[in-house]
């Protein structure tokens, strides 16, 4: 293979499932032009909300389960990443538990605000467990809930100019 080419996980998953005797997974295909909302101002003047799908939660919250959990956990971004827990069934949790910033980069984003690269970080990050097999549940349950979480934060006075989404 071409070492510089990205790993083709769709092809790898198809091979892996076939070797295990599973049906191929029907990945979501959305070839139509995606929706688009222009950035209103430079990022140095913009407030970013962190949305991370690596299964982050904090002590006192119910952890995600591993079977198409479509829940959202709100995590204050004035707490350091070392207070964040992660749970997910489909990636190696050990490195992320050693440093949650690699899937939930709250410390780094706060530093970028201090540096002036970003105007601000929304006071609550939105965390989910992105290992949802059902495209329908991701699209019809989680996505509208995430939209509601962001638009209701905006309606209650929180500036949100852009969402940074961090998958695993």
């Amino acid at each position: 293979m071409d070492d510089d080419a990205p790993v083709d996980y769709i092809a790898r998953t198809t091979e892996q499932y076939a070797s295990l005797g599973y049906e191929p997974y029907a990945w979501a295909r959305r070839p139509e032009t995606p929706p688009w909302t222009p950035l209103e101002r430079p990022l140095a003047e913009s407030t970013v909300v962190l949305i991370a799908s690596g299964g982050a939660y904090r002590e006192g919250q119910v952890a995600f389960h591993w079977k198409d959990d479509t829940g959202i956990r709100r995590i204050p971004t004035d707490q350091p990443a070392c207070d964040v827990r992660v749970t997910h069934f489909a990636y190696d949790l050990e490195p992320a538990r050693a440093d949650p910033n690699i899937v939930f980069p709250v410390d780094r984003l706060n530093e970028l605000v201090d540096e002036g690269v970003l105007g601000g970080l929304a006071p609550e990050a939105l965390a989910c467990m992105g290992g949802i097999y059902s495209v329908r549940r991701a699209e019809e349950v989680l996505a509208p809930a995430m939209v509601e979480a962001v638009t209701s934060a905006r309606a209650s006075g929180t500036d949100i100019d852009m969402a940074l989404l961090v998958p695993v």
Binding site: E40, D99, I102, V168
Partner: protein
């Protein structure tokens, strides 16, 4: 699935008037779901923002991502941030989705069982959550 889920959420947010930027370490999955703005990093799954403890690397990756986002004008753009794991690309040979990400190896179906009960990092988290929910 994580990359697919995030792409679908980004599309929904953007349709609701919220500009988005998706990081991605899984180019083909992101290309298929086609979110509005994406920034590709050539890193193993589980390390979307870099290695544990490498603060400068993580911060540089995010700086590059935001800078790329500011210059995107075409819906469906996936910018390559030029972020690599190392000069040695050998990890890619063993990388599958699941726990076998090329850094850690695993046989067969390497995912953990998909149980429907909360999966706590620490047992003490369970007690704290149960105290909260009464």
């Amino acid at each position: 699935m994580c990359h697919q889920t995030v792409g679908l959420v980004a599309r929904a947010l953007e349709a609701a008037g919220v500009p988005t930027l998706c990081l991605t370490a899984a180019h083909s999955i992101t290309a298929s779901v086609n979110p509005p703005r994406a920034a590709f990093v050539d890193l193993p799954l589980g390390y979307t923002v870099g290695r544990p403890g490498e603060r400068d690397f993580q911060r540089d990756l995010l700086r590059r991502a935001f800078s790329a986002a500011e210059s995107m004008t075409e819906p469906g753009t996936i910018a390559d941030l030029g972020v690599r794991w190392s000069d040695d690309q050998a990890w890619k040979a063993g990388a599958t989705s699941g726990l076998a990400n090329g850094i850690r190896s695993a046989e067969g179906d390497s995912r953990s069982p998909r149980v429907a009960e909360p999966q706590y990092q620490f047992e003490s988290d369970r007690a704290a959550a149960e105290a909260n929910t009464g």
